[in-house]
Symmetry: C2
Subunit: 322 residues, 2 copies
Amino acid sequence: MNTKEWYADYINQTVNDIKYPVEPEGLYAPIAYTLASGGKRLRPMLLLAACEACGASADSAVNQALGIEMYHNFTLLHDDVMDRADVRRGRPTVHVKWDDSTAILSGDAMLTMAGRLVMKVVDDKILRPVMELFNTTAMEVYEGQQYDMDFEHRDDVTIDEYLNMIRLKTSVLLGAACKLGAIVAGADAATADSLYEYGTMLGLAFQLQDDYLDTFGDPAVFGKAIGGDILNDKKTYLLISALRCGDDAVASEIASMFGVRSDHKIERIRQLYVEYGIDRLCREAIDYYSDMAEKSVLATDLPADAKEFFVDIARKSRARSK
Amino acid sequence: MNTKEWYADYINQTVNDIKYPVEPEGLYAPIAYTLASGGKRLRPMLLLAACEACGASADSAVNQALGIEMYHNFTLLHDDVMDRADVRRGRPTVHVKWDDSTAILSGDAMLTMAGRLVMKVVDDKILRPVMELFNTTAMEVYEGQQYDMDFEHRDDVTIDEYLNMIRLKTSVLLGAACKLGAIVAGADAATADSLYEYGTMLGLAFQLQDDYLDTFGDPAVFGKAIGGDILNDKKTYLLISALRCGDDAVASEIASMFGVRSDHKIERIRQLYVEYGIDRLCREAIDYYSDMAEKSVLATDLPADAKEFFVDIARKSRARSK
């Protein structure tokens, strides 16, 4: 196994090495811009690490890693248009720097390019399972995004519905990344499935940690203002839990602040979360899914250093502050 | 070979039979709406006919036919957002009936679903060539759409650039449809390539005929107002030819009307087209590409009734009035 730093460098290098056609510039420049903006590179890292854990070299899965990173960045590009988000990773989003049409069309091209990259397997025997996993995952991600948008207009979202939404929107792609690495390395089905489970559970913990940090993170470390989710009445694990904690007074006080945009609202709702133990509930859920991720990988026959690598990612993820 | 009517019925039936997940409705209902809106079904018809011409049954290529129709409808859905088009086939477009986010996300899902359908080949040996043709064609279509958008801001577009744009945006998908049918039927490479050439040439003639009808069609038959391209200063074969006919007075008179939106503009520019033989130029180009299409298919070893079928489509296409 290589180190996380090695994988990140390797991915950034291969992303930089992608050769785009020069023309039409309006189609390809936004793609290069989006890919170059960095990010955690978590998905391709998991994919390459899973491939090495299963006994093949990182090189053998580089196209799948790039494909999954391309797909992930495509979803961000289109999500930013849908959410009217102006900034991503500290830079103007594509629909701001160019325009909506550019963001839509370049995103479409990224989706097709992602499929092309994922298809580049050496062994034709795994072409169909690889593409089926990729396509099924892609459909799940759209479904998750649709539920996320639907939830904006609903006040009766349950925790189960919320967990299903983040599983679809975020987690399955991490699961698929792990499983693709395993498939490319020729791993047996049980190992591939365990790695899928690892990635999916890690993804749930990861998203819940995002929810938690948006409200309880340290503004100096988190990198963006705290309380954005509260301000926007975003149906997070915290908000849904508070609305469903069984205390009508809490639910109605929170509901009375929907649409309000003030620092007082952020403070007051955060206070309610702490008072009613909603923050603790959220941390318990994070620990639960993080433990599940660890267990999935520990139950495999993978080498000790591989298990250690994946367990370390799960532990660092739940302890992260940004 | 079956008749055109048989293919159209068969496609409409299979489109109607597509089972979509019930949830999330916001993702799948717009897809069903888009596919149900009809259209000429030209691409799947060509695909099925090519498959039968090469000796296999239409059934064996039904998934590829649906996939190409799904892809085509995805491009229309996203193009309508980019072009802010409110009506398509007499019905409100998805971004009007729902909203932009719905149109973007449902379109994304259609692109993935298209790939999934095209992948459904029985023989794993053709999986890679089929997907490579599909992905290459998809990228070309995006490039064509990008050039089309770029041309809106340019007054120096050449006829060669224009033909390349419509080749990418429109023609290659017809070529790919024909070739996919041939590949699925197990045709030899030369036949598959000839059918690709047929489809591409037919596509060029088809698009030029669209340009022609938008200006010279019979309003009672054409189904929409005549002169829309002129009104919007759309860089069509006619407009580019007029600007580049070598007569500075014509070019500057037309340029002086850019941005104007009046019936007089439509009349005057149509008059100039006729006076300077631009309409004839356009008809010559249509006939040229239509002839090329016929020649491509006549040069193959396909059965006589298959050749007749494809030649008939080319002839009817160039003679169509709507």
